[in-house]
Amino acid sequence: MDEPLIAIVGAGVMGTGISTLAVGHGLPVVLVDIDEGVLDRAAAASANGLRHAQLTGALPAGRTPAKLRTTLSLNDVADAAVVIEAVTELPDSKAEVLAEVSALVRPGTPLVSNTSGIPIDEMAAWVKTPGDLIGTHFMNPAYLISMVEVVRGPQTTDNTVESVISLLTRMGRRAVVVRDAPGFVTSRLLHPMINDAAQVVSAGTATVEDVDTLMQGCLGHPTGPLRTADLIGIDNLVDALEALYARTGDERCRPSELLLEKVRRGELGRKSGRGFYNYSEAQA
């Protein structure tokens, strides 16, 4: 059977994780970035991610992983059945990439923007066929977490929604489709909560560990909000909070001083070896 090619633009944590998910389910991926070093690291991280997914039983048994090809050329997305944009969470960067991609692919090719909270319709003006544009919000690591928030913009067509759900199903994901709004559902609820958790720590009410332990033990949160912040990346979290604050005016979304301080010190979470917790090299 001829598997559809998935193009993923942006080889950061999310682009790499989604690539790993796709190839792990037997779907070939072309992964595009502007930085060769980033692509090399992504290829290594993806190989490691496949092992992680296998270890935790997150891959279908007996399926041979498909090929992950990395490239510096955005033109290589032209033949893809679907393009997933996973660049930095800045509307301008996303819009620029989406505009370029939109000019390269056939109309009717789903253009997926992976975002934790930028409204899809803000980016729709940049693409040639706004009906093809849709949002996803994969969780990190994308190859382990089976639920995906899918965001339908006001102009997104039924065909686009159906194609993307079908693709997600093929990759063993469950989708919940929500409407377009700043932060959609998950970030609108989670990000202010993490921000509050940082405030609780700053106020001296409880330690980082105790906040997470209480949220796990009493409220069933799988890892605790501050461990989640380390996994998201505190810089990305601050960007997302600022984007939410700018669009909602909700004071709970204004990044707390402790988060900003961590970003200034380069304590970005798991990816930098230190955030709210310390991570040995083996963990990063």
Binding site: L55, T223, A282
Partner: protein
Amino acid sequence: MTPEQQTEKAPFDMDAVVDEITRFVAEQTRTSPEADQDLFTTGLANSMFAMQLVVFLEQSYSVTVAGPDLQLSNFRTVKSMAALVGRLQAESAAGSDV
């Protein structure tokens, strides 16, 4: 409990490996596990920590965990991890004799 000091290339010392893995888990989770405690059902480990255990064993004992060995049941307890290391080292020693 104290493993004997071995000056020459040590044969696999189960007790020492159990101690080392226990120390690593204790450092990372701030809880000292029993050797046969299920780290996953007792909440000490999760899917993220599982991969750290793999990397720790590979780096500490110069083994590669691959193929069918890459499954959670091998990492459930300190004892099962030590057994895996022992087996992989024996296999690689046998392989290098050929």
